[in-house]
C-alpha cells in the first residue's frame, strides 16, 4: 500500500506540492488528473526519488517502508517504477543492455540470480511481441531517434520486464495511436493483481475506458482538490477543471 501524508515539495525554493494526502491500497489503480502545471509529474518524480526536488513536509510509506529516505535505485528495487512523461534519451547505451542491467540490478537486490544475455533476450522478445513492438527497438540506443509513441511504448516495455509493485504512469497515453493505447492499457492490466498498484496520470478519459481505475483524484495547485470514482473522469471530460478549482478555493 502506498500512503502519502501531507507531502510538500519544492524545486529551486518554489513550492510545487502543497500538502498531498493520498492512499493507494494494494491491488488498486488510481488515476490522477489535473490542469497543466499542477504538480502531477512532480509527484511522480518525488515518489521515485529525483534529487532536485526538496521534500519540505510530509511522509510517504510504501508497504510500510519510508520511501523518502531511499535512493532512487533502492525504491526501484522495492518495486516503484515511473514511466516518464518525457523519456530520456541515452546515446551510446544499447536498449537491451540497459534493460538487462536494470533487471539484474533489481534481481540482485532481491537476492535472485542474474539472467545471462540469452535468457534475457528470450524474455525481452516475448514482451516486445506482446506489446507489438518491433524487435529492433532492443538493438537501438535507449530512446534515441524513437518517435514519441515509440518512447512511450519503450517505457511500457521496461515496466513489463521489471514487473514493479507500484507503477506510476505519467501521461503514458499521450502521443499514442488508438491501437497503442489499447496495448499500453493491456500491459498494465496484465500486471494487475493483489500485489500491484498503479498511479495513472492522464489528461484523457480514453485510457481510463481500457484501464478502469478504482479512484480518480484531481490535482490542482499542488493539492488534491477532489476524489471520486471512475465517473469523475467522465464528468471532468465534459465540464473541465474551472468549476472544480473555484469550488476548492
Amino acid at each position: 500500500m502506498l500512503d502519502i501524508r501531507g507531502l510538500a515539495a519544492s524545486i529551486n525554493d518554489k513550492p510545487i506540492l502543497k500538502g498531498i494526502d493520498l492512499t493507494v491500497p494494494e491491488g488498486e489503480v488510481h488515476a490522477i488528473m489535473g490542469p497543466n502545471g499542477s504538480g502531477k509529474s512532480t509527484l511522480g518524480y518525488v515518489l521515485s526519488g529525483r534529487e532536485d526536488y526538496e521534500v519540505t513536509a510530509g511522509t510517504v510509506t510504501f508497504n510500510d517502508v519510508d520511501l523518502l529516505g531511499m535512493a532512487p535505485e533502492d525504491r526501484a528495487a522495492a518495486g516503484v517504477f515511473l514511466a516518464f512523461q518525457a523519456p530520456i534519451e541515452l546515446p551510446g547505451v544499447n536498449n537491451a543492455n540497459f534493460l538487462r542491467t536494470a533487471l539484474n540490478a533489481i534481481r540482485r537486490a532481491h537476492g535472485e540470480s542474474e539472467l545471462d544475455a540469452v535468457q534475457f533476450l528470450k524474455l525481452a522478445r516475448a514482451e516486445t511481441k506482446r506489446l507489438a513492438m518491433p524487435d529492433d527497438m532492443l538493438k537501438r540506443n535507449v530512446n534515441v531517434g524513437f518517435s514519441g509513441g515509440e518512447k512511450k511504448r519503450n517505457e511500457v516495455l521496461q515496466m513489463a520486464i521489471l514487473r514493479p509493485k507500484l507503477a506510476i504512469l505519467d501521461e503514458t497515453d499521450s502521443g499514442l495511436d488508438i491501437d497503442a493505447l489499447k496495448i499500453v492499457a493491456d500491459g498494465v492490466n496484465a500486471l494487475r493483481g493483489p500485489k500491484f498498484s498503479a498511479l495513472v496520470i492522464t489528461h484523457h478519459q480514453r485510457l481510463l475506458d481500457h484501464l478502469v481505475p478504482n479512484r480518480v483524484h484531481v490535482l490542482a495547485g499542488g493539492r488534491i482538490v477532489r476524489t471520486g470514482g471512475p465517473e469523475l473522469a467522465k464528468e471532468l471530460e465534459k465540464s473541465g477543471y474551472a468549476g472544480l478549482i473555484a469550488e476548492a478555493a
Binding site: 526501484a76 541515452l90 536494470a102 540490478a105 521489471l162
Partner: protein, 416 residues
C-alpha cells in the same frame, strides 16, 4: 644521486662510443637536449608546446638504469590482452626474442641495425633529443609493396625503475597494409620515452592502435611522426589509461594528394593522473582528409590536456580537416585544458574544430537509477556511452573488444 637533464647527459657521456649508430647525430641531439632540458624542469625557459604539461616530476625522479629488474616481465606479459598474432616484445627497452613471435619478414633490431629514420626533429622536441641521445634498441619493420602484413603487436614492458628510450621505424611500401597494435605496461616508477616514425607510401594503409596501460607511478612519453603519401591512410586510435604522467605527441604530415589521417584518442584519468595529447596535422598536398576526436574522462584531481593544430599549406586546396575535443568531468576537482588551433594558408578548404566540457547528465543519471541501477553502475554506463563513439572508430571487433575490456578493468580499479 643526480636527477633531471644532468643525469641523462652524464649517462650519455659515460656511454659515448658504446651506443649503436650515427654518433654525430647523437652528439647533435645531446647538444639540443643540453640547451632545452626537460620541459618544466629546473633550468627552464617556457616552451609553448609544453604549456600545460611539466616534466618536473620526471626531472625529480632518480632513475636507476643499472638496477636489477624488480618485477617479472613474463607475469606482466601474461596479464596483457594479447592477440593471436606476431608480437615484438621489449622488456625494459631491450628486444626479447624469447618472448616474441616473429612476423614473417621485414623485422630488424635497432640494436643491430640502428635506423634513426628521417622524420624526427631532435632540435625542436626535447624528448626526441633525449631519445636520440640515449636510444639503444627498437624495432624496424618494413612491409613490402602490395603486401598485407596483417596484425603485428609491439609490446613494451617495464620491470625496472629505470628510463627507456625505444626507437622504432616502420615503413609501408606502396599499396601495403599493416595493423600495428602497441601495448605498453609495467610495474614500478619508470620513464618510457618512445620515438616512432611511420612512412606510409602511396596507397598503403596503416592502422595503429595503442593501449597505454602503464604502472600508476610511471611516466610515459611517446612521440610519433607519420608521413602519409598519396592515397595512403594513417588510421590511429590511442587509449591512455595508465601512468602518473603521459604525453602522446603525434606529428602527421599528409604529403601526397588524397592522403587520410585519423588521430583518435580516449584518455581515462583518475587520482592525480595527468595526460596530454598533443598533435600537429600538416596538410601539404591537395585533397587530403584529417579526422580527430579526442575524448577525456576525468575523475578525481586528474588533468587532461588536448593540444591540436591543423596546418594547411598554400597548395593544399580541397583540404578536409575536422578536430574535436570532448571532456567529461566526473569530479569538481578534475581539470581539462583544450587548445585546438587552425593555421590555414589555402583558400578552398573545409576545416572545423571544437571542444566541449561537461559533467554527467543529471536526468540521464536519474533515469538509470529509477530503473534500479545503482549510482556507481549508472555512472559507468554513461561514461562508457561517452567513450563508445570514440571506440567505435576501431573497426576490428577483436581489437575493439580488448580495448573495451581494458576500459572495464580501469573502471574496476576505480571502484577498488
Amino acid at each position: 644521486m643526480t636527477t633531471g637533464a644532468i643525469a641523462f647527459l652524464e649517462r650519455y657521456q659515460s656511454l659515448i662510443g658504446r651506443l649503436p649508430g650515427d654518433s654525430a647525430l647523437r652528439a647533435a641531439a645531446a647538444a639540443a637536449f643540453r640547451t632545452a632540458g626537460l620541459p618544466g624542469g629546473t633550468q627552464q625557459r617556457r616552451i609553448e608546446a609544453w604549456k600545460y604539461t611539466s616534466l618536473r616530476p620526471v626531472a625529480e625522479t632518480a632513475f636507476k638504469p643499472d638496477a636489477a629488474p624488480r618485477h617479472e616481465a613474463e607475469t606482466i606479459l601474461t596479464g596483457l590482452p594479447l592477440l593471436d598474432a606476431p608480437r615484438l616484445v621489449f622488456v625494459d627497452g631491450a628486444f626479447r626474442p624469447d618472448l616474441s613471435v616473429m612476423p614473417t619478414a621485414g623485422f630488424a633490431r635497432f640494436a643491430e641495425q640502428p635506423d634513426f629514420g628521417t622524420l624526427s626533429w631532435p632540435d625542436r622536441e626535447p624528448m626526441v633529443a633525449l631519445n636520440t641521445m640515449l636510444a639503444e634498441d627498437g624495432a624496424a619493420l618494413h612491409v613490402p609493396a602490395g603486401y598485407d602484413a596483417g596484425v603485428v603487436q609491439l609490446i613494451s614492458i617495464a620491470a625496472s625503475d629505470a628510463d627507456f628510450h625505444p626507437r622504432h621505424v616502420i615503413r609501408l611500401g606502396k599499396g601495403s597494409q599493416l595493423t600495428l597494435v602497441e601495448v605498453s605496461a609495467g610495474q614500478g616508477t619508470y620513464l618510457l620515452n618512445t620515438v616512432a616514425e611511420f612512412h606510409i607510401a602511396d596507397g598503403a594503409h596503416l592502422t595503429h592502435i595503442r593501449l597505454q596501460d602503464e604502472a600508476a607511478s610511471a611516466f610515459h612519453i611517446s612521440t610519433t611522426y607519420a608521413d602519409v603519401e598519396a592515397g595512403a591512410t594513417y588510421d590511429s586510435f590511442t587509449l591512455n589509461l595508465g601512468a602518473q604522467l603521459s604525453r602522446t605527441e603525434v606529428h602527421a604530415q599528409l604529403t601526397g594528394a588524397g592522403a587520410i589521417a585519423h588521430l583518435n584518442a580516449a584518455q581515462l584519468l583518475a587520482g592525480s593522473q595527468h595526460a596530454d595529447f598533443t598533435s600537429v596535422v600538416g596538410h601539404t598536398a591537395p585533397g587530403c582528409t584529417s579526422r580527430q576526436t579526442v575524448k577525456n574522462v576525468l575523475a578525481g584531481r586528474s588533468r587532461g590536456v588536448f593540444q591540436g593544430r591543423i596546418e594547411v599549406a598554400r597548395d593544399a586546396q580541397k583540404t578536409d580537416g575536422y578536430q574535436m575535443n570532448q571532456a567529461l568531468l566526473l569530479s569538481p576537482y578534475a581539470e581539462v585544458d583544450s587548445k585546438p588551433e587552425l593555421e590555414i594558408f589555402a583558400d578552398d578548404v573545409k576545416c572545423s574544430h571544437g571542444a566541449t566540457v561537461g559533467e554527467l547528465d543529471a536526468e540521464q543519471m536519474f533515469y538509470l537509477r529509477s530503473r534500479g541501477i545503482p549510482d556507481a553502475e549508472a555512472r559507468s554506463i554513461l561514461v562508457r556511452a561517452f567513450l563508445a563513439e570514440a571506440l567505435d572508430a576501431v573497426a576490428d571487433d577483436t581489437i575493439r573488444f580488448r580495448l573495451e575490456a581494458a576500459v572495464e578493468r580501469w573502471w574496476e580499479r576505480q571502484k577498488a
